[in-house]
């Protein structure tokens, strides 16, 4: 029997369509059909400057918006050949780790609600609201922040921001303990996720899976450690690994990652405090980055640079660059081809969910239909990223 898990479905985390070929309750074949949220971001980026594409990236993986901003900014900075000041790097790391915590909160809440554990949803969203207030404080928007810019940040940190972050980071481990108390030793959770949707390490690598799904299968690969960016090599944190590659291991990897992110965020807060609660937030290379407002009003050169960058955008050299970050879902990378003008010639987005979703048939063929729901949830996909 052919069953269509249509684009509108409470458990598909967006508009994903899965065509299932069933034999009773066993899945014989499974084919994910995507494209119901295709937004033409890559085409649209060719008509906008690099800075104008930053808000687009927020709408890609909309659960972890700051990670996408970071990926685009790092890729553009690699193309320009510049490196941002240390204070900016520390702030970026802090906000990206908070993003990771909030993304895993949403993942856990929705995954649990698909499997049937409704309570976890409200607990997780309570924590997420705290992170969203932090976003609101720093950028003005709850979700689609667009706070990072090529060469730095949009504006400096507001007063009291670090205290707010510190308060959240101090109380977060207790909340992660709550989630674990609800789920980790719960016999229903174990029965629904242990042994379900297994993905072997060789399969994961062959299918290009990255992120917690890859680490759940036991492969030790995390871009923050293996291809570090933005100063991650100077932070002290561990990479949790699974062993069996089933949904339960992926769940444990992500929960442990929430704890590690808390550790990194705390170190980042201390670092920013040491460098000053307010200070430089942008690179001082005015060919590519907007000069500070005071200088625009006093120096002619800065005024001209400001005008050029705002009116046309900055002009990177002719060339191409690819840079990837470890987003909460996997390896998120941007590939820019520049022809010397202020608009990219080609922007290609390597989104982790697009690649991870391909491994779904491998995980569920031969298993039960209820496992399909658990599998989709445990891969952690976001359709905005898949369809771009």
């Amino acid at each position: 029997m052919t069953l269509n898990m249509g684009p509108q479905h409470p458990s598909t985390h967006g508009v994903l369509r899965v065509a299932l070929e069933l034999d009773g309750e066993n899945v014989v074949a499974c084919k994910p059909i995507i494209g119901y949220l295709h937004t033409g971001m890559e085409k649209q980026a060719e008509y906008k400057t690099y800075t104008q594409s930053i808000p687009q990236t927020d709408r890609m993986d909309y659960i972890s918006p700051m990670s996408n901003n970071l990926a685009l900014c790092l890729s553009a900075e690699k193309l320009l050949g510049v490196r941002v000041p240390e204070r900016v790097e520390a702030i970026r790391v802090l906000l990206t780790e908070l993003t990771r915590i909030s993304s895993h909160c949403v993942w856990l809440g929705t995954h649990a609600i698909d499997i049937g554990a409704l309570t976890v949803f409200w607990y997780c969203f309570r924590e997420r609201e705290k992170v969203l207030s932090i976003y609101d404080m720093v950028s003005g928007a709850r979700m689609t922040a667009s706070y990072f810019r090529v060469g730095g940040l949009a504006m400096d940190l507001p007063a009291g921001f670090l205290d707010r972050c510190e308060k959240f980071v101090d109380e977060m481990p207790a909340h992660v303990d709550e989630y674990e108390k609800l789920l980790t030793k719960n016999p229903i959770w174990i029965a629904r996720t242990r042994g379900v949707a297994p993905l072997s390490a060789a399969d994961a690598v062959a299918w290009g899976v990255t992120g917690p799904a890859l680490r759940g299968s036991g492969v030790r690969w995390d871009l923050r450690k293996d291809e570090p960016y933005s100063g991650y090599e100077t932070y002290d944190f561990d990479i949790p690994l699974g062993s069996r590659g089933d949904a339960y291991d992926r769940f444990q990897v992500r929960v442990a990652e929430m704890r590690e992110s808390t550790k990194i965020a705390k170190q980042a807060i201390q670092r920013v405090r040491k460098m000053g609660e307010s200070g430089e937030y942008r690179l001082r290379d005015f060919k590519y980055v907007l000069p500070p407002r005071e200088e625009v009003k006093t120096s002619m050169e800065a005024l001209i640079h400001h005008f050029k960058i705002v009116a046309h955008g900055f002009f990177p050299p002719v060339g191409e660059a690819y840079h990837a970050v470890e987003a909460p879902k996997g390896e998120l990378g941007f590939y820019f081809v520049s022809d010397g003008s202020s608009r990219p010639w080609r922007m290609k987005i390597r989104s982790p969910s697009f690649v991870n979703l391909q491994a779904l048939p491998v995980m569920v063929e031969g298993k039960l239909i209820a496992d399909v729901i658990a599998a989709i949830g445990s891969i952690d996909i976001v359709l905005g990223e898949i369809d771009r």
């Binding site: 033409g40 193309l79 050949g81 299918w207 290009g208 690969w221 291809e227 191409e320 690819y322």
Partner: protein, 187 residues
């Protein structure tokens, strides 16, 4: 332990001495890129994956690009990742417009399936040997290749009074939109 991209290129040239590899040069080409002729693509990829020193077991992504006035027009970019050696490498295949055909690398990395479908969907590049080369992101009956440089963006002009014929004032009148007084309780 860390494998450098120059060593990868050296190994490739040793193994395939009669294939015309070309190193991409440019002012700001930040990744080491090698251009491979299309007919030697699959064997190159298989060697990169299976060789014990290189071990490029993962195809990170594959994408297309359109360089319209240039001949050959299209390009396929393959970004390979070696987890065991901690190395990345980029391969490119230049695809002409009249015959946009590239052999598929699904036999080497099964993940190439959707990437090749996406390149087909956006640019019209056909991958010979692909089991299911259909549109993936756009509707199946869409006509055209949207990411080609000569395809339009397809945007809708915002309607102002100066470009909408017959309209001089904004409408409808705001008075009509004001809500009626409401009693919240049935009395």
């Amino acid at each position: 332990m860390n494998l450098g991209p120059e060593r990868v290129e050296q190994r490739l040239r040793e193994r395939f001495p009669d294939v015309a590899f070309e190193r991409q040069t440019g002012e700001a080409v930040r990744d080491h890129t090698l251009i491979v002729p299309a007919e030697h693509l699959v064997e190159t990829c298989r060697f990169l994956r299976d060789d014990s020193e290189l071990q490029f077991a993962m195809l990170s992504w594959m994408g297309g690009a359109d360089y319209l006035p240039r001949v050959p027009r299209f390009e396929c970019i393959y970004n390979l990742l070696s987890i065991a050696r901690g190395a990345r490498f980029t391969l490119k295949v230049r695809v002409p417009e009249e015959q946009p055909r590239v052999p598929t690398v699904i036999g080497v990395w099964p993940t190439a399936n959707w990437h090749e479908r996406e390149a087909y969907d956006f640019y019209g590049i056909t991958f010979t040997g692909h089991p299911d080369l259909t549109r993936i992101l756009l509707p199946e009956d869409w006509v055209g290749w949207p990411l080609r440089k000569d395809s339009p963006l397809g945007y809708e002009e915002v309607a102002f009074t100066h470009n909408t014929p017959g309209r001089t004032v904004p409408s409808p009148s705001l008075k009509k939109l004001a809500p009626k007084k409401v009693r919240y309780r049935a009395q």
